[in-house]
Structures are given as structure tokens and as C-alpha cells.
């Protein structure tokens, strides 16, 4: 189609505004008479709260109020939501933790909030927060995932008696052992999938006010769509009907899954605004990001895979321990199962699959969805197994994969966990990625590196994910009398570029000029009733198709109006490129829009206006399956253990690409976060469960210097289960990068016999592995 239609590399219309400082973020919003709220957070990892003395804080200059957990409980505020149910094979249900919005009698991780101080200025609130005296009785703490899973760790939920929330299994393990016994070759891998602090650019922030007259509580906060938060706030915190709670998320500096949650701070700020009668603002800082934003990943995986004499996988067994943190977050415990576990066989045709998951508790920040949410972990595990299989069978790494990938002629393919993969060209992805990376000539490049005293390796990683998130979404298009359109989105763009892409869709389907489309999002007062939001790589499908169908309704109504204007029958009217045509006469959509707002022009009984929405509902068990293959090439300075990426090729099948510029951006960002996990990022708690990596001085975010150019290629296979043929794109990079990168490093280290190093592959770890391998050889 045209220059601004779908599939076109249209530049992001939001960028000028955002890059020139004209964005409106939550911290830019202030209410008259607002006070500042500062949270008192636990410095202890695990302790009983014996008493909280707020007298000195209350007496401090400028202090308006000090509230503790007891005040919230007394006011009927409930507990945070965990939207998960799991049970073991005997039907015994998962232990559910209870978390109050402020800790009352016990703290269970460093940074857990237990009181809030409101004062006239931020400085005064901070001063006074230091005057809140808490008497703690320290308890033994659990800082590591492995310790949490061991029977020796002190249970941090005594009523449960164990730190293991449930032992979930997909089937009896004996069933798979029988298959495993028949395998000619068996390989095992043990992986620590490192805990990450997601770190969006914008730290959390909130400003809330309660209007006595209307009884409406309004809160501004960066979210991924306010509707879910609205419901929780209304029901659990404020005891108001949802329509009396308004959540507004203006420009939001990154979501990554963790901005979509009802955090305790949002509840407390809302409640405090009503309780105190003053608007309340909380400006979270980066230190609070580290100790209060939900963390990501943090699994320990043990897996065993059996192959036959042809290198075909005959059995797969996976044991996963997930560190949930001190409390189960909204989705936390579900991630290994419905996030990652369902796609663990990955792009491979593996029938005999056993899967066990133990969510465990520790005195750490709760974990929840972070870019990929279980799928990067699952793909990483699967790809490490494939590399191990190559090593054990003597087959090349690409060959063992090729022998096991699901072939296009097997589509649609029903996985062992019950999902139906509609489409994908997994072998083709590998071919394209390997050609793009000039895999064939790698030995020449390795020889050159060796001349320069460097090790060189190349690695490959396939991935597939299930995308789509919640099964409902609603989108609305309103066309004004002047023909200009407004999209009221249920989705929420916080970096994804929806202002641009939704305008492209309207340009494509309604012929409306790109610049005449504006986006309204992020306000529960104006969002469609069934708005869900943006997470789980869902917007292109749920929002895009919802918008396409809304546009279809605009055309249907417009056709009737056009027929009326042209004094003909609707059946004879066609629509294309913004023009309704019947025989030799035609009217434009702009003319129709004008007429739509003048009742005299309308057919009998038709409502005025041109305003249509579509509620899209899909089968909750139906997903789309973004997939791809990444190839990474590294050079290693063995003396320092320093790894440098020298080439990176990402092949992605995200179905039909609505805007290649934007999808490239998604790929680069996802790869950067995946490489961050694999190369620099690590969240470390010490034995006392104190967070040691609590700032950017110790927590290594990936930087430009860590990368080479990234070549992003598409192997588009249209999705068969939605009208646009789209698949998710946002999480793909993070799913493909860790395995391709680690594979490349292990390839480089092969001369030393090193087959695995846990992420992140920091210089210290790489050097140590080499030193130990050398020592072992010498001995």
C-alpha cells in the first residue's frame, strides 16, 4: 500500500515529542496542595516487627501524617493479588502467601515497605522517614535459590513448613524414565538462570488525589495499561466501585512486564490520599527500583535429554526451581509453567516430555514477568541441551538441531503441553541466520583471530515463544466531522510506538492521512471498557486486529451514509483508499464523516457520529508463536577472560511486519537485554539476604561497547490464527540472545574442554573457567 500503510518503514511520530523533552511523565504531574510520601523500608531481610514508633516522625517539621500497616488493616485494606493456581499430581494445592500493602508483623525482604510518611516537601518527608523507629527481632534469612529449595533452609512461611510452594509436575516421572532408558545417548545440563533487575529508564512514581465531591480517586502512575490496576485498587484497597477509581498512565518510560502490576506502593499512595485528604506524590528513586520493583528470571534448571542413534530426541526431563522471592507476585509462580514450560521443547519435535516445577520462597524481592517471562529461560535451557547433544553425539550443532526441529509440513503442530503452533519455518530460520552470519567461512575468521592471540567462537540459538497474553482486548475509532480520527486504545504504548503503528493501520484500512490520526491511551476514563493493556507481546494481534475490525465497522456504517448521500443502495457502494464509490459517483470518508455528524444526512434511525469499537475475544488457549534463530560470534581475550561480540545476526519470524523500523528496534532492545543477562547483569544477595548489587555501580547494565552491529533479518511466515498474520515481536530478542551468545563463548572455549559457564559470563568467571581447565589438564 502507500507510504504510510502497514508494512512500511514509517518513522515513529512520537519520537520528536519524546526526544525533545516534550513528553509528559508522571513526575511532571502535580496537584495543588499535594504532599510528598516517602516509604520506610526494611533494612532487614527477615525479622519480626516488635514495634513501630512514629512519634518523632510525626513531630518533625512539615509532617502531615505517618501511616503503618496497622492503619491500612484497620481501614479494611486487603492483601495483594496472586493470580495463579497450581497443584501437584495428587491434587494438593500450591501454598499461597499473603502480603499486606505495608508489612505489619513481619518483614521478609530488604526494601519491604512498612510505613509511609507524608510531609509538605520531599526533603521533610525523607528526614522524617529516618525518624520512624522500628524495633526488629531478626530471624534467619534465606538468600539463595539453591538454599531455599533445600530442606535445611528455615521456612519463611512457618505455617507452610517448607520453602517449596508446591511441586508441580506435568505427568508421573516414571513414564518418561521408560523412554529415557531406551536412549542411545543421554546428556544433562545444570543451569543457574540469573536473577535480573529489570530497570526501566523511568523509576516508579505515583501521584494520587481523592475528590470528596465526586468520590473519585485519581492516580497517575507509569503502568502498562491501567484497567487491571484500577480493579485491584478499587476492590482490595479502596472499597470503591471501579468507576470511582481512575488510573492515568501518561508517557511511560519502559514497561518490560514489571510495570503492569498493582504494587503495594500504588495502593498505599491511593489510600493515603483519601485518608489524609491531601493529594500524595511518591517519586521512587533508582535505589527503590532495585529493592521494590519485581525482579526477573532466577531459576535453577536441571535437565536430561535422551537421543537415539540418529540424533533424534526420544525423551526430555526438566526440573525447574523458581525463586519467587518472599511473596508470590501476581504472576510469579506461573512463569515456568505457562510462560516457559509450555514451550520448553522449543522449536523441536519432542513427544516424551516430563516437566517439574518447584516455586520456592526466599528473603528476596518477589519475581514476576520480565521481557519474555519464562520463555527466555525455557529457550536457553533447550538450546544448552542441544549444544550438549551435539557434543555427545558428534553431530554439528546445527545438524542436531536440524534433525529435531518441527518441520513446516508438521504444522499446525500440537505440543506436548497442549498448544497448537500454527506456523513457522524453523529450519529456514537457521539457514537464513547461518548464511547471514557467513557461518561457512567461520574457520577462516577463527584462524585470523588466533593469529592475533584471541579465541573466536560462533554460536547458534533457536527460540519460539507463545505470545498474546490475555485473550481479550477492545479498540475504538472515532472520526470527527473534519475527518480526523482518534484511536482510543485498550493497549498501552510505553516504548512500542503505537502512535505510529495504529495510525498506519487507519491509513491502510480507512485511507486516513497518517498525520490525521491521534492516539488516546493510558486513561481508564477514556479507555474502552474492556481494555487490557500491553504485555506478553500481544498488541499487534489483540490491538491490531481489534483496530482492523473497528475500521471495518466504520466502513460498514460509512457505506450506509455514503449510499444515502449518493442516493443509492449500500450494496452498490464500494470503499477503497478513503473513497466510497457507486458507479460513477463517489464521496470521500471526510465527506461521510461530516455527514455523519449531521442527523439530517443520515439514514432513518441511524445514530449520529462515526464512532466504532470492537471487542476482540480469542480462545484463551490460542497463542501466536514468534520464533527465530540468532547467531552470535565472539572474540575472547583469554588472558583477561574478556568476551567481545564481533558479529550478531538475528532472524525473526514475527509474522507480518507492520513496521520494520519499529520491529528492528524491538529486536535490538530485546537482544540488548538478552545479552545483558548473559554478559553483565547479575543480582546478588549475600548469605544474610542483603542485596549486594543495589545500584548501577555494582549491577552491570549492558552498554553500547558490549555489542557489535546487530543485523536483524525477517523470515516472515504469516500467522494463520489472526486476520493480520502478525506474531509478537517484543520479547523475541531476549529469548534468542542468551543461548546464541553462550553457545558462541563455549565454542571459543572448546579447546579447553569447557562446556558451560553460568551467566553472566563476566571476565572473572571466564578467566576462572580457563584457569581451572588448564590446571585440570596439567594435573
Amino acid at each position: 500500500m502507500g507510504q504510510f500503510g502497514i508494512g512500511q518503514p514509517v518513522r515513529r511520530k512520537e519520537d520528536v515529542r519524546l526526544l525533545t523533552g516534550k513528553g509528559l511523565y508522571t513526575d511532571d504531574v502535580n496537584f495543588d496542595g499535594q504532599v510528598f510520601g516517602v516509604f520506610v523500608r526494611s533494612p532487614q531481610a527477615h525479622a519480626n516487627i516488635l514495634s513501630i514508633d512514629i512519634e518523632a516522625a510525626l513531630a518533625a517539621q512539615g509532617v502531615v501524617a505517618v501511616y503503618t500497616g496497622a492503619d491500612l488493616v484497620a481501614d479494611g485494606v486487603g492483601t495483594l493479588i496472586t493470580d495463579v493456581e497450581m497443584e501437584d499430581l495428587s491434587g494438593k494445592k500450591m501454598f499461597r502467601t499473603k502480603r499486606t500493602f505495608l508489612a505489619t508483623d513481619r518483614v521478609r525482604f530488604v526494601g519491604e515497605p512498612l510505613a509511609i510518611v507524608l510531609a509538605e516537601t520531599l526533603g521533610q518527608a525523607r528526614e522524617a522517614a529516618e525518624l520512624v523507629m522500628v524495633d526488629y527481632e531478626g530471624l534467619p534469612a534465606v538468600g539463595s535459590t539453591a538454599f531455599a529449595a533445600s530442606p535445611d533452609s528455615p521456612p519463611i512461611w512457618e505455617e507452610h513448613g517448607s520453602n517449596v510452594g508446591v511441586h508441580w509436575e506435568n505427568r508421573p516421572v516414571a513414564e518418561i524414565d521408560a523412554h529415557m532408558a531406551k536412549a542411545k545417548t543421554r546428556v544433562t545440563v545444570d543451569i543457574v538462570n540469573n536473577r535480573l533487575v529489570p530497570n526501566p529508564m523511568e523509576p516508579r512514581c505515583a501521584v494520587a488525589k481523592f475528590d470528596e465531591e465526586s468520590g473519585v480517586l485519581t492516580i497517575y502512575a507509569p503502568t502498562q495499561g491501567g484497567r487491571r490496576i484500577q480493579g485491584g485498587l478499587a476492590k482490595t484497597v479502596l472499597n470503591l466501585p471501579p468507576n470511582k477509581v481512575r488510573v492515568i498512565s501518561p508517557d511511560t518510560g519502559g514497561g518490560f512486564g514489571i510495570r503492569g502490576k498493582l504494587y503495594p506502593e500504588l495502593g498505599v499512595i491511593s489510600w493515603a490520599a483519601r485518608k489524609s485528604g491531601r493529594p500524595v506524590k511518591w517519586r521512587g528513586d533508582r535505589s527503590e527500583t532495585f529493592v521494590s520493583d519485581y525482579h526477573g528470571r532466577d531459576q535453577i534448571n536441571h535437565a536430561e535429554m535422551g537421543l537415539d542413534e540418529n540424533g533424534r530426541v526420544v525423551a526430555l526431563k526438566v526440573h525447574t526451581i523458581l525463586n519467587c522471592g518472599a511473596y508470590m507476585a501476581e504472576n510469579g509462580p506461573r512463569l515456568p509453567v505457562s510462560g516457559g514450560g509450555r514451550i520448553i521443547p522449543g522449536v523441536y519435535d519432542i513427544v516424551n516430555f516430563y516437566f517439574s516445577v518447584k516455586p520456592v520462597f526466599s528473603n528476596t524481592v518477589p519475581t514476576d514477568t520480565y521481557r519474555g517471562a519464562g520463555r527466555p529461560e525455557a529457550n536457553f535451557l533447550m538450546e544448552r541441551l542441544m549444544d550438549a547433544a551435539a557434543e555427545a553425539t558428534g553431530l554439528a550443532r546445527d545438524e542436531v538441531r536440524r534433525r529435531n526441529v518441527i518441520r513446516p509440513d508438521q504444522m499446525p503442530y500440537r505440543t506436548q503441553m497442549g498448544l497448537l503452533i500454527d506456523s513457522g519455518d524453523f529450519d529456514g530460520n537457521m539457514k537464513m541466520a547461518m548464511e547471514g552470519a557467513d557461518w561457512e567461512n567461520f574457520p577462516k575468521r577463527r584462524a585470523q583471530s588466533e593469529k592475533n592471540g584471541k579465541l573466536r567462537g560462533i554460536g547458534i540459538g533457536n527460540f519460539v515463544e507463545a505470545a498474546g497474553g490475555r485473550p481479550t482486548e477492545e479498540m475504538r475509532i472515532r472520526i470527527a466531522a473534519d475527518g480526523k480520527a482518534t484511536v482510543f486504545a485498550g493497549t498501552h504504548s510505553h516504548g512500542q510506538g503505537h502512535e505510529t503503528v495504529w495510525a498506519q493501520l487507519l491509513n491502510e484500512f480507512l485511507g486516513i492521512p497518517f498525520d490525521d490520526v491521534s492516539l488516546v491511551q493510558g486513561d481508564t476514563a477514556t479507555a474502552p471498557k474492556n481494555s487490557a493493556g500491553t504485555f506478553g507481546s500481544r498488541s499487534s494481534w489483540m490491538g491490531g486486529v481489534g483496530l482492523q475490525r473497528s475500521a471495518k465497522r466504520i466502513v460498514e456504517k460509512g457505506t450506509k451514509i455514503a449510499a444515502n448521500l449518493m442516493q443509492t443502495e449500500p450494496e452498490g457502494v464500494s470503499f477503497a483508499g478513503g473513497v466510497f464509490t457507486a458507479g460513477t459517483s463517489s464521496v470521500t470518508l471526510v465527506e461521510v464523516a461530516k455527514a455523519a455528524h449531521e442527523p439530517k444526512n443520515l439514514p432513518e434511525g441511524m445514530e449520529a457520529g462515526l464512532d466504532e469499537s470492537y471487542f476482540l475475544e480469542r480462545d484463551p488457549e490460542e497463542f501466536n508463536f514468534p520464533n527465530g534463530c540468532h547467531v552470535c560470534e565472539v572474540e575472547i581475550d583469554a588472558d583477561l577472560g574478556h568476551v567481545q561480540i564481533v558479529n550478531y545476526v538475528a532472524v525473526d519470524d514475527c509474522g507480518f511486519v507492520l513496521n520494520p523500523v519499529i520491529v528492528h528496534g524491538q529486536v535490538y532492545g530485546g537482544v540488548a537485554q538478552g545479552i545483558g543477562q548473559a554478559l553483565t547483569e547479575n543480582t546478588v544477595y549475600d548469605e544474610d539476604a542483603q542485596l549486594v548489587t543495589g545500584s548501577f555501580m555494582d549491577y552491570g547494565m549492558p552498554r553500547a561497547q558490549h555489542f557489535s552491529m546487530i543485523e536483524a533479518l525477517f523470515n516472515q511466515v504469516l500467522c494463520k490464527t489472526n486476520d493480520l498474520g502478525v506474531k509478537g515481536a517484543g520479547e523475541a530478542g531476549a529469548c534468542g540472545a542468551p543461548s546464541a551468545f553462550v553457545s558462541s563463548v563455549m565454542d571459543a572455549l572448546k579447546p579447553y574442554g569447557i562446556t558451560h559457564i553460568d551467566m553472566p559470563l563476566t571476565p572473572d568467571r571466564v578467566w576462572r573457567a580457563i584457569a581451572e581447565a588448564k590446571a585440570a589438564t596439567a594435573a
Binding site: L640, T680, F696, M697, D698, Y699, P763
Partner: protein, 263 residues
């Protein structure tokens, strides 16, 4: 950040007076460490004495066989100075590797060495070139300046005015950057000076130090090979989650060899 009184004295004498008058006063140079510390409420000085308005303690010039760098000179100025690049390229190279561009344009040489962060780059540069630290009361040889973790020979009330670097025959700096902070996990400066070979190490121990065994070996034979088998005792080095002491000990030797090989 807690409230404090802000002063911007117009002379070193006024700055010294203010420093003497207020018990909990702190000097503010580039603020690259002090300001984050204040923001995190880890320090709460009563008074901040900003040196940015004090004349004659910023800039680079040559005096005889020495390059004199004013205490308030930002790292970027040193990195880009034609004079430093020509006379002490190893120092320009070091300054250009500190932090990131924002830090290099705000952070100063005086602030860096007064703070004496164990992982800062400048201590290796000052020690490795055998520089002299000039204060408002005396001159201190670099060898006598760095005493321990964040500990220097500076007395209360003493203000660094500048650093005098003897122009070396040759020098070179090698650094392994910390992946998160950009500080030196290990930094090694090797210099051939009129007084002999100097090898200064930062990042590895509680404070910058000279590797005397390496200096001796290089004096006898200035070649990378002469450092074979020479390692710093790991027992004396920092051990943290980013780098073990054993790794640091190994890296000191690797970087020293690379510096020498660059000759």
C-alpha cells in the same frame, strides 16, 4: 539530600578559612562522588565549599620539565590537551578512560585523588609518574600520598591546588574496566622516568600502590618477558563479587606486560 550551607569562595585563602570555620564542611570539586553520596544521604556535611569559583587552580601548563595540572581541571581537558598528549601521552590516555563523557567533563583531578577511591584511575597516573601534589600548605610526593582505602596524607583543612607531573621518557596505561561502574577492576601505569622505571597499580588493592618487584625486573630488562612469573601476592588484594583476588593478581601482570609491550 539533607540541607547544607553552600559557599563559593573566590580565593584559596577564603576557601581555607571557611573550611577551618565549619567543622563538618566539605570541599566540592567536580562532585562526581560527593553529590551521589549526598543524594543517598550517606553523608550530611553542614557546609559545602564549592571550589569552582576559585581562580588559578584550573588549567594545564608546562613549567620546565614538569606539566602542572590545576586541581579543578576536568578529566576531559587532560585527555584532550595537546600539551599532555605530546609530553605525557600515557596520562592523556588514562584521563580519557575515566568513567563516561559526563563524568569526564565534571570530574576533576584534585577531586579524584583527594577522594582516593581504590578503583579510581588517577591514583595510578599520579603514583606512576612520580608526581607531586601541591596543596595550600605544602608539597606531597605521590609516594607519600595514598595511605589506604579512601585515605590520603591530606590534613584537615588542606586543599589540593594542583599536581606537578615530571615529563617521563615514556609511559602507558592499561585498564580493565568494571562492567557496571566503569572504574578500574585493575589499572596499571608503567613509566620510564628520569628516576627509573615505575609501575603503579590501581583497582587491585585498598589503595594505589607500586609494584616494586616489577619495577626492578623492568629496570634490569625493559621487556614484557622480564615480567614472566612476577605476580602480586593475592592475599593483599581486593576480593569481591566482580573479581577475585586471584584474578586481580593475574590481571595486574597481564596489563603490566601489555603496557610494556606497547613501548
Amino acid at each position: 539530600m539533607q540541607d547544607f550551607n553552600y559557599h563559593a569562595p573566590a580565593s584559596v585563602a577564603d576557601a581555607a578559612k571557611l573550611l577551618a570555620a565549619h567543622e563538618d564542611a566539605k570541599l566540592l570539586a567536580g562532585g562526581m562522588t560527593l553529590l551521589p553520596t549526598l543524594k543517598q544521604r550517606l553523608a550530611a556535611p553542614s557546609d559545602l565549599i564549592d571550589l569552582s569559583s576559585v581562580p588559578n587552580i584550573k588549567g594545564i601548563c608546562r613549567e620546565g620539565d614538569e606539566i602542572v595540572i590545576g586541581a579543578m581541571t576536568p578529566h576531559a581537558d587532560v585527555a584532550e590537551s595537546a600539551l599532555v598528549r605530546e609530553t605525557i601521552p600515557g596520562l592523556a590516555m588514562l584521563a580519557g578512560q575515566i568513567g563516561d563523557p559526563a563524568v569526564r567533563h565534571r570530574g576533576t583531578i584534585g577531586g579524584s585523588i583527594a577522594n582516593a577511591d581504590p578503583a579510581a584511575d588517577y591514583p595510578a597516573g599520579v603514583l606512576g609518574h612520580g608526581a607531586t601534589i601541591v596543596t595550600n600548605t605544602r608539597k606531597i610526593a605521590a609516594d607519600d600520598f595514598f595511605l589506604g582505602l579512601f585515605e590520603t596524607a591530606l590534613e584537615p583543612g588542606e586543599i589540593i591546588l594542583g599536581v606537578r607531573f615530571p615529563i617521563p621518557v615514556w609511559s602507558h596505561y592499561q585498564k580493565l574496566r568494571h562492567p557496571a561502574s566503569g572504574y578500574a577492576v585493575v589499572g596499571v601505569l608503567v613509566a620510564q622516568t628520569a628516576g627509573g622505571v615505575r609501575v603503579a597499580v590501581t583497582g587491585a588493592g585498598p589503595n594505589a600502590f607500586r609494584a616494586s618487584a616489577m619495577e626492578e625486573a623492568l629496570t634490569a630488562d625493559f621487556s614484557a618477558k622480564s615480567l614472566d612469573g612476577l605476580t602480586i601476592d593475592a592475599e593483599t588484594l581486593n576480593n569481591d563479587m566482580h573479581a577475585s583476588a586471584a584474578y586481580r593478581a593475574h590481571v595486574v601482570t597481564v596489563l603490566a606486560k601489555r603496557a610494556v609491550a606497547a613501548r
